[in-house]
């Protein structure tokens, strides 16, 4: 294993370690709250996995400085007046719309290319091909962030339901240790 590989991957490994710690708590512990804690750690680690993969060296958060954004706003307002819809349209595969959308899609692709050209025009330094880069600023891929926002919300939703179930179980059985509960059920 090269040191290159080690430095390229070590934080994935730590994330894996964190995930497995969480996973271990979930499957090894019989206390229900502890299980939920384990689940939480597991999920947070998965979030870290996604966020790690979105990061690009030398990148910055995908929030465009307002100055730049304003610039485009102006550009777009001009654009909006020219064509009311300024984004890739619904190129729906349904036969009925295909012809309409096709023409439109071409038009938009053209626009997008023009725009991309414009954007990279005043880029300084070596523009690495394909990396999200606007006006010399490299942006980290925002998609993992978006996915993880959803995943976090799903996680808290699950936790809430799990905890409310625990409350019910502890009221009904008087304990939240799975072993004891199973014993009680068996005795019944």
């Amino acid at each position: 294993m090269s040191s290159d590989q080690f430095f390229g991957l070590y934080n994935y490994w730590i994330v894996v370690f964190l995930m497995m710690t969480g996973f271990y708590i979930v499957i090894a512990r019989k206390n229900m709250i502890k299980t939920v804690i384990g689940l939480n750690i597991f999920q947070v680690s998965v979030v870290l996995l996604y966020i790690t993969m979105g990061k690009v060296t030398g990148g910055t958060a995908p929030v465009i400085p307002p100055a730049l954004a304003g610039q485009h706003d102006a550009h777009d307002q001009h654009d909006t007046h020219a064509a009311p819809s300024g984004h890739t349209p619904a190129a729906n595969a349904t036969a009925a719309n295909e012809t309409v959308d096709h023409g439109h899609a071409d038009h938009v692709t053209e626009l997008a290319h023009e725009l991309a050209h414009e954007l990279t025009h005043d880029a300084t330094g070596d523009a690495i091909h394909g990396v999200t880069e606007t006006a010399g600023v490299i942006y980290t891929n925002p998609l993992p962030s978006v996915l993880m926002l959803t995943a976090i919300v799903v996680g808290i939703a699950t936790t809430a339901v799990a905890l409310s179930l625990i409350v019910r179980i502890s009221e009904d059985y008087g304990t939240i240790e799975e072993d004891e509960i199973l014993q009680m059920d068996r005795r019944q």
Binding site: S85, P89, N97, V100, L149
Partner: protein, 160 residues
């Protein structure tokens, strides 16, 4: 907890700012980190703090559980309704009307108060974030109510 006057005073002072911050996060999501979900959490936390300090009945007077329950539903309806609205409106294209897909905010383009009211994508994003905010606030509050409703601590306090 309500036996500590300092906490009561401090929280009374803090809560408006939390609410304000929540609203800021809600409506400023376009510009910086934040959005409906985070705003909802913050707004709910203000209510929860209020509940913790002044007791469950007090906060339920401000935000009755029935209303909160309806708000949970309302937020989702606003979100999904925006989607349905876009399909119903359709988008203008080359002067003609073509179908717009579900959640295609381009359908929300309009010329009313141009430059003042958001339109198109901005309006869409505003609406759905608003929906998310309402639901999250309501759900978080409701979860708090439910847990607190089960707690003997709170129930005794209510009777006392």
């Amino acid at each position: 907890m309500n036996s500590f006057p300092i906490i009561r005073v401090v929280s009374k002072l803090i809560i408006p700012y939390i609410l304000l911050f929540g609203l800021y996060v809600q409506f400023h999501g376009d510009f910086g980190p934040g959005g409906g979900f985070q705003a909802g959490v913050i707004l709910a936390s203000a209510l929860i703090l209020y509940g913790l300090v002044f007791g469950l009945p007090a906060v339920q007077e401000v935000a009755p559980p029935r209303v909160i329950e309806k708000l949970i539903a309302l937020g989702v309806l606003i979100y999904a309704g925006t989607g349905i609205a876009t399909t119903l409106i359709g988008r203008t294209h080359d002067g003609g009307q073509v179908p717009a897909n579900f959640l295609d905010y381009e359908a929300l383009n309009h010329d009313v108060l141009h430059g003042f009211l958001p339109h198109g994508q901005h309006l869409g994003i505003f609406l759905v974030e608003f929906g998310v905010g309402i639901t999250v606030t309501a759900v978080m509050t409701m979860i708090f109510y439910c847990f607190a409703g089960r707690s003997r601590l709170f129930n005794e306090k209510a009777s006392a």
